[in-house]
Symmetry: C2
Subunit: 457 residues, 2 copies
């Protein structure tokens, strides 16, 4: 969708040319129609567009809307329209929607849903947030394990229209236990009379998650095995739902966003940037800033304790921001790589010592080089400006740079792994927290070296 197309649709809407608008919309994709609805500034206009959609696509479009637009629309349509909408929505989309909107909307919607669906939705709403159970849908193709390929295909043709995906079918026994999975592809490429038991994937190849598994687990499994949908089973291995790849893609984005937020000392937020209110946003930010503000006063205390020496020896104070900055950045580099490696499963707990050994070697190379560059830089600055910095000070600063890089990188790679061992989120052990720790240690190293190597310090 480009600006011109939006413009054209908007003109049709403003001139009330609804017949043409409806025709234009029927040629558009659901996400594009949803975008058009969400971009219309005016609530009445949004509802107007939604209402001219033909009945068979309105639920599809609805599932692509953001929660606030969904609320607007549900607030403006009749109970009968709500009943129809809920009937047409896939269960996972209905649950998604109800999880995000205000409680009064949930009550009104549930009041207009048939009893069976209402019970199902209530059950789904009880699963913990971000668990497989809360994400799954029940509209999957289930095939009885006694069927042949031909019967299975007939079954899919008959029931497939209401399924969220038909590309992976799930084979169950009389007790609804998951016996195997069967890609539609394999069905189509086999003879009609082959029993599906013979061609389904089973035993060791059977991949599934349980209702209480976290979404991170679901995404990891889908990625590892390149699945288009992941089956969800209960404690008795009975098939209760599936999670499809479009939702898994969203999970992958959400998990990365959550890590970005945690690493920037933000409380994770489910909503997009522009959708989050100012007060909520302030609340998400203030907690960590307060903690970090208070802890960084310790760094100030360390400087204060050394104030007499700092004020008598030229050049020592001016290097403090550079040392703290270099330490923070070095630690940040290491922790980011480890956190991401852990999140993607590239780094595992058993690699702990390999990681530390690698970081120490990398840090030594980087530290020596940065120290040498700093040494040259300070000599050069003295030569040009004629400042009274002594050789000893230059040596101490350069050695500190090297030491600070090594210490920071070691801390940066260690803390996320320790967090993982303690079953905390490694992403919490990122930038700001490590910087604060590294700041204090950098200064102690710096002042310690100064005390040892500079006469009268």
């Amino acid at each position: 969708m480009n600006e011109t197309e939006f413009e054209r649709l908007n003109i049709l809407l403003q001139t009330n040319n609804l017949k043409f608008l409806k025709e234009e919309l029927s040629d558009m994709t659901y996400p594009d129609i949803a975008e058009f609805i969400m971009e219309s500034d005016d609530e009445k206009r949004a509802v107007k567009i939604f209402r001219i959609l033909s009945k068979d696509i309105s639920a599809d479009v609805f599932s692509y809307l953001e929660p606030d637009s969904q609320t607007t629309i549900v607030n403006s349509i009749t109970d009968r329209e709500i009943a129809r909408l809920m009937d047409d929505l896939f269960l996972d989309d209905a649950v998604d929607f109800l999880e995000e909107v205000p409680a009064n909307i949930v009550r009104r919607v549930l009041a207009n849903t048939d009893k069976q669906t209402r019970e199902l939705i209530n059950r789904f709403l009880k699963y913990p947030e971000n668990s497989a159970g809360s994400l799954m849908t029940i509209e999957m193709v289930e095939l009885h394990d006694r069927l042949t390929v031909g019967e299975a295909i007939k079954n899919i043709r008959r029931t497939g229209v209401d399924k969220e995906t038909i590309y992976t079918c799930y084979v169950i026994d009389d007790g609804r236990h998951l016996m195997g999975t069967l890609p539609l592809r394999r069905l189509l490429l086999n003879d009609e009379d082959t029993p599906i038991r013979e061609i389904m994937s089973d035993d060791d190849r059977l991949i599934f998650v349980r209702t209480m598994d976290d979404q991170e687990e679901v995404a990891a499994i889908a990625k590892k095995y390149d699945l288009l949908s992941v089956p969800v089973v209960d404690m008795e291995n009975r098939l209760v739902g599936i999670i499809t790849i479009d939702d898994i893609v969203d999970i992958i984005d959400d998990e990365a966003t959550e890590d970005f937020e945690k690493m920037a000392s933000l409380l994770p937020s489910e909503d997009g940037y522009l959708k989050t209110g100012v007060f909520k946003m302030a609340r998400n930010r203030i907690g960590w800033l307060l903690i970090l503000m208070v802890t960084s006063t310790f760094t100030g205390q360390i400087i204060e304790g050394f104030e007499a020496q700092l004020s008598t020896i030229a050049g020592l104070t001016a290097c403090i921001p550079m040392l703290m900055g270099t330490g923070g950045n070095s630690g940040n580099q290491a922790s980011t790589l480890i956190i991401r490696g852990l999140a993607l499963g590239e780094v595992k707990l058993k690699d702990f010592f390999r990681v530390i050994w690698k970081e120490i070697r990398v840090a030594t190379i980087v530290g020596l080089l940065l120290g040498a560059v700093n040494f040259g830089r300070m000599l050069l600055v003295r030569l040009i400006t004629g400042n009274p910095v002594t050789n000893n000070v230059i040596l101490v600063v350069s050695m500190s740079v090297c030491a600070v890089v090594i210490v920071s990188k070691t801390i940066g790679c260690t803390l996320p792994i320790i967090a993982k061992v303690l079953r905390l989120d490694p992403a919490l052990m990122a930038g700001p927290l490590i910087s604060t720790l590294v700041d204090a240690i950098s200064l102690m190293v710096y002042f310690g070296l100064a005390h040892l190597l500079i006469p009268g310090c």
Copy 2:
């Protein structure tokens, strides 16, 4: 795969019980077999496992191996085995593999590939890295637009076994121009004599990318439209390939990793943490550390210029780390949210002023609160320790906290958007770069306020 299973397979391997091992492997998924090969420490053992795989799955397993294991194996198998392997690999997996391994391997592999495939591979290797062309595969289902549903299904049954996916078919005309897309689902759920022209998605609904489009674009389109594969067309709208969802999932992870790396002032690396050598890793880190080290000396100069005042007025120096830290963290929060919002398409360039206005409001709330807390904290510390900090100093520090938060957040949200306008990567405008800038500005604000409000400063 759990540890026990690995253990059992390893025992079979060590006792040379290859017949049983082969049987066990034939029950396993390709990713699990690949993991087993990669986990065997010994190169000979890895090759041994690969060689006992039955011929019809070895290419599938190969495509799940990391480049270094692929290299090991190709180094140890015969030219005939290479020829067979290349023949069985999907083109995109072959290209992926050849892009990552040493040049001598590439030469040997291409020498053992038939002329047609060799030409194709050479053409694919010429596409820019991370372009749609370099990621696509040519094994897609193409249907002529004159076919009926029944003929199309017959066509798929005949040719489907060699296709990377059959779930979305692409309809082309005599000139191979992309005319429409057709989910297999729609084919199966329609009557046999329906012409596919009537049921394919076309016109406004036709979604595709071009060979030179960046992978970020491909992922965005797949996510927006929930596609299982994205068609790739050339400048004349002829269908040249498709990119499947499993590769799109990898792109999403890669793009997020790249942003994590850039935001931690690392040069992006294609390899996983444990696979990257120590020297390469040092090289990826040192550039930004050097730049940031040199720029942070300016911050030092600012402190130096104020040294006389700092040494006479109690309490001023000790607050420097806290102010710089709070500024850096605040800016980091804002820039992270904007960078992620831009990457996910939630924040667009036209939202520029909305974003800044929002950040200023959030920053004011956060800044006032932090300033107030700091005020109370400093009063309390004075009460307890009896330090000689004056009321004016406490006021200046608290006002500075507030001002620094507002300035940092404004800078933090502005720079990534400006980068986007200038067609640079917003992720470069993150943490370390913003911290360095914010450090300098924080100190200027601090010293400015001190000069104005503290007598004799």
